[in-house]
């Protein structure tokens, strides 16, 4: 088995000698991306601060590259580990380049004056985070996303072997989140830099991480590859999701289904039902959904948002049983919404459902118009 680059052994972390989380066992290999996930206040930052030596360990040990963290001098550690933190000052009258250049600190002389080589490395780091154009802009005046990239460039300038980031994607819009994570992924793949970070976006954590560590309460709740850890139940439990739900496979979050007896039937295929489901959810109207193949895009959302799903097994025409179940719902419901049900090929008889609804004067269609209830 490959040796761990960062190893936490029975580590206990906390403030002022009081353990908040104890018995932490984590081994991170070189070039791996490991994410700490968990609700706010679960102690993700406390673990990270203990890894960066901002907080003294309460118990146990942290080994970096085979040596106890405590054995490193500040300078030695600075050449191995760089950080990107949420809170930071915004010094006045400093350009973005000045801030990035601070990362050269462990390598410059007594007065911190940059050599030509240092200058080139700063430029390269800025290019790497796509911030070359920001170099001479005042650091205090750039946007949150740009500032976060500059802080990452600062960390890259430090030429670390491991980079520790505390919620690097907070305050960023989705595009900047993805930009930042792609840069991290590139650093890990191409330069073998180990990345340890906390994220509260569980969907992103699942997509970028080699391993995910869930932190909750006084211990590590779960630890493993995203596939192992991020199951629906784990997440429901980790975040105490009672009403809303999370689909681990697609990373999609849905609100809680409206309670009550369904009075509306939504008929759809190919993901066309989702906007209708969500609208009905927003309006608090319970509904039944059908006829949905279990491999249809509509299926995961239908399961989470509707009171009842009329389900069909994939790769075959709908069975008689399903057909008659659907017909029952058409009879039973006060309104039938056709959000784009496919009635071609092997499923021509599904057109009967629409026709019956039409006869009963219940049919509404979303085709070719902005659908309103």
């Amino acid at each position: 088995m490959e040796k761990s680059y960062l190893q936490l052994e029975k580590a206990a972390v906390g403030y002022a000698g009081k353990a908040l989380i104890s018995g932490i066992e984590i081994g991170v290999k070189k070039g791996e991306i490991v994410t700490l996930a968990g609700p706010n206040g679960s102690g993700k930052s406390t673990i990270l601060k203990s890894i960066t030596r901002q907080l003294a360990l309460v118990g146990g040990d942290v080994l970096l590259d085979g040596r106890p963290l405590a054995a490193y001098s500040p300078q030695e550690l600075a050449k191995k580990m760089a950080v990107v933190l949420t809170a930071g000052m915004r010094p006045e009258l400093m350009t973005c380049r000045d801030v990035a250049a601070m990362g050269r600190y462990p390598y410059t002389g007594r007065l911190g004056i940059l050599s030509g080589e240092d200058e080139r490395k700063v430029d390269a780091a800025l290019q790497m985070v796509n911030a070359g154009h920001l170099a001479e802009r005042p650091y205090g005046e750039v946007s949150d996303g740009e500032r976060q990239r500059i802080l990452l460039a600062r960390a890259i300038c430090q030429e670390p072997e491991i980079i520790v980031l505390d919620e690097p994607t907070s305050f960023l819009d989705i595009r900047h989140k993805l930009d930042l994570l792609s840069i991290l992924q590139r650093m890990a793949r191409e330069q073998g830099i180990t990345v340890v970070m906390s994220l509260h976006e569980i969907d992103l954590a699942m997509k970028i991480s080699d391993r995910v560590i869930c932190v909750k309460g006084a211990s590590i709740y779960a630890c493993g590859t995203p596939e192992e850890v991020l199951r629906d139940e784990t997440i429901r439990d980790l975040y105490n999701l009672e009403s809303a739900s999370y689909d681990a496979l697609t990373g999609s979050v849905e609100m809680a289904a409206p309670a009550g007896q369904p009075q509306i039937l939504v008929l759809s295929s190919c993901g066309r039902g989702i906007p209708v489901y969500r609208r009905l959810q927003r309006q608090g109207k319970p509904f039944a959904a059908g006829v949905v193949y279990t491999n249809d895009l509509d299926y995961p959302a239908a399961v989470r948002l509707s009171a009842h799903v009329i389900t069909a097994e994939p790769f075959a025409p709908v069975s008689d049983a399903v057909y008659s179940e659907a017909m029952e719902w058409v009879e039973k419901c006060g309104r039938v919404i056709d959000a784009g049900l496919v009635t071609e090929g092997g499923n021509r008889r599904l057109a009967d459902l629409l026709q019956r609804a039409e006869e009963l004067g219940k049919l509404e269609s979303t085709a070719g118009k902005v659908w309103t209830v």
């Binding site: 960066t52 030596r53 901002q54 500040p74 300078q75 550690l77 600075a78 050449k79 580990m81 760089a82 950080v83 933190l85 809170a87 930071g88 000052m89 010094p91 006045e92 009258l93 400093m94 380049r97 000045d98 801030v99 601070m102 990362g103 600190y105 462990p106 410059t108 007594r110 007065l111 911190g112 004056i113 070359g132 154009h133 170099a135 001479e136 430090q158």
Partner: protein, 346 residues
């Protein structure tokens, strides 16, 4: 890409030129204010004779004494202590991460003043004299006492506003103690004490200028050598720590050096207000950067110019009556601080 690089290159060159210009202007201003200072006073001496006195030491005895024993040491003192004040303020601003911090507003000058007053009254009253070094030590002890109090408060009160109020309060307490001592001291002891406790560069002589220059010079070199960690500290403690700064040691160095500098000023000239806040701010704006490696020497020069100009105004504005130095520095410095506050709110 090419165009961006060219533009950045030009900007960097422009920045260097700007630094050079600021230093040149400050140096020229210092020379000018020294000349003006030597040239002005209640006794009018023509420039030709002044030049002769400075260069050759020849001339009328009374005029030689005025120039060489009174005006020259006083100018030197105001310049050296002005530089010390600016750096002391700069260090405290770094420490607290706030541009409104300074030795005067945080009550550190007042602590030093109180402790010097105690030493003057008790020791001088009993033994007749105390060396200037002894006074500096006393002032340093007082400055550290106030600083310790401020640090204790800063642990409980996180916001700067609370800290400033605590500083102002400790300033009042120390001033009250000083006034109390002055009121009940023997008249002979307080001949100099009263003027000094209000702040003034008058009465500077060469030995004390020498002592001040030595202490301030050594401390300033130490401050300059700290410019690298000070720069890292601009991003906050956590970042500085992650880049390899030994935070405990560094914070200690900041406090001790700042204490030595403001103690030295207080021992020789009494409390002088607002220089420590206004000068570093103005210098950073003029340079257009916060990089300590440029800001520190420029702030020292700026403080020297600021205090030399203030002293000139103090001497000449209502001549032959002299103003307290703080009267002038407050009038010049306080509006700058108010401007800073307004700007920060925006």
């Amino acid at each position: 890409m090419r165009a961006v690089e060219d533009r950045d290159g030009k900007r960097r060159l422009g920045r260097r030129l700007r630094y050079a210009a600021v230093f040149a202007v400050l140096a020229a201003a210092l020379v000018l204010v020294v000349i003006l200072n030597i040239n002005s006073g209640s006794v009018r001496i023509p420039p030709g004779r002044i030049l002769k006195i400075i260069l050759t030491g020849q001339g009328e005895v009374k005029e030689v004494n005025i120039i060489r024993r009174i005006r020259m040491p006083r100018i030197m003192m105001s310049a050296v202590l002005g530089g010390a004040l600016a750096l002391s303020g700069f260090l405290l601003q770094t420490f607290f991460g706030n541009p409104i911090a300074g030795p005067f507003v945080l009550g550190i000058s007042s602590g030093a003043k109180m402790s010097v007053a105690i030493v003057l009254i008790l020791v001088v009253g009993r033994f007749g004299a105390v060396s200037s070094l002894g006074l500096v030590l006393a002032a340093f002890a007082g400055a550290m006492l106030s600083t310790a109090f401020i640090l204790a408060v800063s642990r409980a009160v996180r916001q700067m506003a609370g800290l400033l109020v605590a500083g102002i309060m400790i300033g009042y307490i120390c001033s009250a103690v000083t006034e109390f001592l002055v009121t009940f001291a023997e008249d002979a002891d307080i001949v100099n004490l009263h003027g000094w406790s209000q702040g003034s560069f008058s009465g500077a002589d060469w030995p004390s200028v020498g002592t001040a220059a030595l202490i301030v010079g050594a401390a300033s070199v130490c401050v300059f050598l700290l410019s690298k960690p000070i720069g890292a500290y601009l991003m906050g403690e956590a970042y500085a720590q992650s880049m390899g700064v030994n935070i405990r040691l560094f914070r200690m160095e900041l406090i001790v050096l700042s204490g030595i500098l403001s103690a030295c000023v207080t021992a020789f000239a009494g409390p002088v207000s607002f220089v420590g806040i206004a000068v570093p701010f103005l210098i950073k704006q003029a340079l257009g950067t916060s990089k300590p490696v440029v800001v520190i020497p420029a702030a020292f020069l700026g403080g020297a110019v600021f205090c030399a100009v203030s002293d000139l105004i103090a001497r000449m504005a209502f001549s032959p009556t002299e103003l307290n130095i703080s009267t002038v520095t407050s009038v010049l410095g306080a509006p700058v601080v108010i401007y800073m506050l307004i700007r920060r709110r925006r």
